[in-house]
Amino acid sequence: MGRRTFKGIALLAVAAGLITAGVMRGELIVVLFRAVHVCLECIGLG
């Protein structure tokens, strides 16, 4: 296995861990709540 491939696989494992941790601590609720309401900041109303 090349060095680059090893780094890639290690980072993928980190990414999987981060996603799992984020889901476990309930971040999806925040993301969903934000995404299903009109974001006044995004559209320039603040």
């Binding site: 980072l11 990414a15 999987a16 981060l18 941790a21 601590r25 993301v31 995004c42 559209i43």
Partner: protein, 290 residues
């Protein structure tokens, strides 16, 4: 029509645009999609307040979670972008980003075309660190909520995809227009003019998502390969590159969106883009321009 790599890329870009923005009926109603798919982030930059958007924007998600008093930095959104970046690198920008496609179409407007001064390409890292990662976490209101500063003060995708369609259909929102909208409209105009003159101006200068994917170009599985011998230094790859890089000298440049235009332009077929880490297979992949 010849089914070239660039045509294939355009088909993927249009398909990704449609997949990310499939709720077209919401434009007329002036509403946004509120289903559970918005738990998930889109790979590219796409405002979740766009009426047609079916997914959350990863940069918006980072700021939303970062600005929540309960969390701080978003593991979920960072992990999602990290995973995609490790697999595809900045090919996400080249193939899957809706705002990338919009910029490429804008660049087709006839005008004098320019290249961007290199120092300006570092602005996006400042925006990523300052406005996306730090501002929402460290600058909070009296209730402890941080502001999504990049969305609020910069993002022209939000103004274009979310702001304009919603303002057109909601008079009550138009009543609230003020200085912030003028700032964002000015940035949108600057971005549109910039994209007409400079290919992917926003990607090069302002996109924090492209900044993350670009840094991961150095380790991504989808990569560029340059054959050790055969380069005649004709410079055709550099001239063909829409991101103003020299792919022979810097195949893993953070600016490279893996569009493959350099590989198509190379008369010696020494450049190639793909997943396979085998030189001979990569070379045959790269020479497949038909």
């Amino acid at each position: 029509m010849k089914f070239t790599r660039n045509v294939r890329r355009k088909i993927i870009q249009v398909a990704a645009f449609g997949f990310t923005n499939s709720h077209l009926g919401n434009f007329a109603a002036g509403s946004i999609y509120k289903g559970s798919w918005k738990n998930f982030c889109s790979p590219g930059l796409n405002c979740y307040s766009c009426p047609a958007a079916g997914f959350a924007c990863p940069i918006g998600a980072m700021q939303a979670v970062g600005g929540s008093p309960k969390f701080g930095i978003s593991f979920y959104a960072v992990g999602f972008v990290l995973a995609l970046g490790v697999i595809f690198g900045r090919a996400v920008c080249g193939y899957l980003c809706p705002f990338g496609l919009i910029q490429e179409l804008l660049h087709k407007v006839p005008s004098p075309k320019k290249r961007i001064p290199k120092p300006l390409t570092y602005i996006k890292y400042v925006l990523l660190a300052g406005l996306v990662l730090m501002f929402p976490v460290f600058v909070a209101d009296s209730f402890g909520y941080g502001s999504p500063a990049f969305c609020e003060y910069i993002c022209p995708a939000g103004t274009l995809e979310g702001g304009i369609p919603l303002l057109l259909t909601h008079p009550e929102l138009r009543m609230q227009l003020g200085g912030l909208f003028i700032l964002k409209a000015a940035i949108l105009v600057l971005t549109i003019v910039g994209c007409i003159v400079i290919c992917r101006f926003f990607c090069k200068v302002m996109c924090p998502l492209g900044a993350i994917y670009g840094l991961l170009n150095k380790v991504s599985f989808y990569r560029m390969h340059v054959a050790e011998t055969g380069c005649v230094s004709c410079g055709k790859c550099r001239d063909a590159c829409p991101m103003d890089i020299n792919p022979v000298a810097r195949p893993d440049s953070a600016e490279c969106i893996r569009c493959g235009k350099c590989a198509a332009a190379c008369p010696e077929h020494i450049l190639s883009v793909g997943f396979v880490n085998n030189q001979s297979k990569l070379i045959s992949h790269g020479t497949d321009n038909s």
